[in-house]
Symmetry: C2
Subunit: 316 residues, 2 copies
Amino acid sequence: MKEIKKIVVTGGLGFIGFNLVEKFLKEKYEVLIIDSMISGTKNKIIGRKNLKVFDIDISEKKDIKNIIDSCDLVIHLAAKGNVVESVQEPIENFNQNVFTTIQLLEILKDSEKCKKIIFSSTGGALMGDTPPPVNEKSCPNPISPYGASKLACEGYINAYSNCYGLNSIVFRFGNVYGPNGSHKKGVVNKFIRNSINDIEHIIYGSPNSSRDYIHVYDICEAILLGIEYFSKMEKNYELFHLANFEEVTLAKLIETIYKVSKKKNSYKILDYRKGEVLRNFCSFEKANNLLKFNPKYNLQKGIEDLYFWILENEFC
Amino acid sequence: MKEIKKIVVTGGLGFIGFNLVEKFLKEKYEVLIIDSMISGTKNKIIGRKNLKVFDIDISEKKDIKNIIDSCDLVIHLAAKGNVVESVQEPIENFNQNVFTTIQLLEILKDSEKCKKIIFSSTGGALMGDTPPPVNEKSCPNPISPYGASKLACEGYINAYSNCYGLNSIVFRFGNVYGPNGSHKKGVVNKFIRNSINDIEHIIYGSPNSSRDYIHVYDICEAILLGIEYFSKMEKNYELFHLANFEEVTLAKLIETIYKVSKKKNSYKILDYRKGEVLRNFCSFEKANNLLKFNPKYNLQKGIEDLYFWILENEFC
């Protein structure tokens, strides 16, 4: 019998959350989504068996507490994820990311039943200009309020795990792309839409600026492996980078989209934006060793699938 | 002419603050203290030339803003510093340490004149059980809410420095001891008082538990060197460990006090307390290289001076 049967997913209607909940329902988990419903994916999923959706802001502590107390695990995905917006509104980002995470941790600390949490952190924004490739032993160096918010959460999750008997897994995601993210403004989505619309790409800084892209299905697979890992965990707190260990420049991303679309978009270069990281890629060796994680999607295949998903879902 | 002439010290009546302000006044700095007056040192310093003392809680943003806007530098020492209390009251600690630091950073971000901050962080609590010796390249691993609070502040100071043009120096203090800390409950003060009172020492965990003790006068000297370093700084944000690079066990501390007092106190061992670090010592090589920092007090001399200071100031 599974130790973990009933899972709360905060931000469960968001890009990663939606894909993850689909996977959980296939795996026969009972799922409770807490989400403020801004992503517009609710209609695609509501009414499904083994699923409840709560339209609650994550800062409403009392309501959240009752939901969490009935579950075995919290997957905390709800967050303000945009680096540039965090530079414009650092306090808003702090409140949405750090304050709400501390509130969740307090609920877990006081809960009789629910003592497990999986937290979505970030690789690039947290590492800043630390020379890549980075791994779990690299020193964090956040250069944006968003990166700082995730580091703050990681520190508190570590401390709460040690002091109050929580079991926690933190995943530092690379740049996640894939289907069901129509509300997202990430560069992969934007460039694919530009390609479909024959619009010039905009590059901030340099075409050599790089990221480590990872497909959302690989992220979901890793989270499932993380859930299984709880029963084997020797420490209260474990941290994993999830990425492809591949440095993809913006030039390479544009080239990859061109191979699928056969349309060559021009691009213009604007100023580097404060808070953004110049280069980033990560090793996933630890996740491979302990979780047996191995990303299945290469960029070419992932972009191809996403190109046609966006064409079908946003343009038809 | 000095670039930095007028300095705000938050927590300027506390243990480190009081010693630091004394040094600043000798060096002809103009000093503004923001302090909630709990330490009882106010009467020792009030009325001095070039000094103003404001009895304001650091969370009162409007009042604090007016004070800071008139200065060249903020030294932010005000904090809840006790690991064990942070485990008992993590939210109180979060509000006092993280929330107030973010507020200060917002003031500096918006200030025309005051863009510099020196922040007091911690070595041991932030590093947790990372095997010592640690340095600035070691990976933080906070195992108490207090350690997590300091890591959160460091991350935000780094981010604000990068995004909003602040210049920041973070000092991670070892275990600071020395005069003018009568309100402090640290182990050095406690064991000296035990010795004077012929009371049994209490050890939590093990006599082999270790710290890297540093004299408050050495800390003050390092902060002065930090102020000079602002004019040479090549980055917006710089981090230094300040310690003696010496692992001192509780057994060694007791032995050192015995050498001064000639009185052998017995000790009893109680359970290890959650959140506390087992071993800690740090390299100060970076501070030595860049700031020319070199601690002058060895433990024997520091304990001897403090023993007689406590005898004179608390027992006469």
